[in-house]
Amino acid sequence: MVSEATRAPSRAIGGGERGITSGRPAPLRAQPTLAHTTHASRAMGGRLAIHLAVPAAAERSGEGDARGVARRVNAWSALLTRHDPASRLMALNDDPRRSVPVRPTLAAALGWAKEAARMTGGLVDVTLLPERLAAETGPGAAADAAALDRAWRVRPIGRRWSAVDRAPGTRFDLDGVAKGWLADRALHLLAGHPGAAVDADGDVAVRVAPGDRWEIGVADPRAAGDLLAVIALGDAAGSSSIAGRTWGVATSGTSVHRFGPEAHHLIDPRTRRPAVTDVVQATVIAWSAAAAEAYAKSAVVLGAVAGLDFLDRAGVAGAILLLADGRVLALPRTTAFLA
């Protein structure tokens, strides 16, 4: 694991003193002078950055907590990846039984995937691994899956174990779904810190300390280092509607994982082919990174007009879309968050 720690000053604000104890929620009141620290490493085949807002006196403690959470995220992601034949996800995919016992982490991740499917009307579908592989390598990868019954469920079978019921041959892919879910889970582990942001390869879970502010850049996929926008969560006045709440900011799109002129990794479950869409990239602000990721992916699959309509009705806090013709559009309510 490559690791680095950096420190940046945050806004100096007045207020009561309090120490930090990991795992205990920090009370919602103004914090002493906070510093933003960053612990960067790699996980899930991409970057993992844990940013903390900590009182200056607690920076060393914060760095230790960040390292611990990074280790946990790496351990969880090792269970959920399709890129390791020894992962628990791949053991499930390769299991010939119709009903397969699974342990809590995989069960919880699949449980979220089921909820994401419900929230998005089926646009998030984690059973499309054959179709994604077909987009990468050719249609032969999905030939056996065309007639597959994709119905599946997770049900508890004991205090810690669950069972996944599905037709043998169903293969799950949790790549995008898991990253937002892991970001939220990591943020929960940092509940003892006044504020934190966990960036799980682009899907960001945030909790803002009272009086603090996080700025989140939205990467422009057309030019490395450029930004489409900057989202600001929180302000110096400590907005009660933002501080203390958890937020998610996540981005999905078709321009990074491309395998040919029309082949990319976002599969439209209605056609089971790479989505044909006028949206290159969608960023969503929601109440969790997992929800933001699910809605961002859905907006890309739906296209600009239907996608914005869908996001509006879903009640997300904001959304920014980059269209194929170069326009950058946002849900009108997003402007409250633009720096």
Binding site: T6, I216, V230, V249, V256, T283, R313, L321, P332
Partner: protein, 100 residues
Amino acid sequence: MRLAFAAGGAATVSALVALIASSATPAGAATPSATAVAAASGGAADVTPVRHVTRYVVLPPGQLPPTGVTTTPPSTLAVPVATPAPRPRPAVVTSQSGRP
């Protein structure tokens, strides 16, 4: 392909393509001729110009709008975002996965 006409509200459809047709008639849409209208209404004195205005065409999944047609969300759903002013790059950046 279905046609949906939205009158002041957002249509809840899978994909809406605004074909603002001030004078153009989209391919495939039938436009009755003035003669036909006159015949149907009983006389040349009653001829009324007829113009079809197609506001939205609903496309099924997997289809893009025809070449030259601009996809335009209504202003109630979308506002343009200006390029952010030069500023220090935030430490936290959201992006598509796999991007360094």
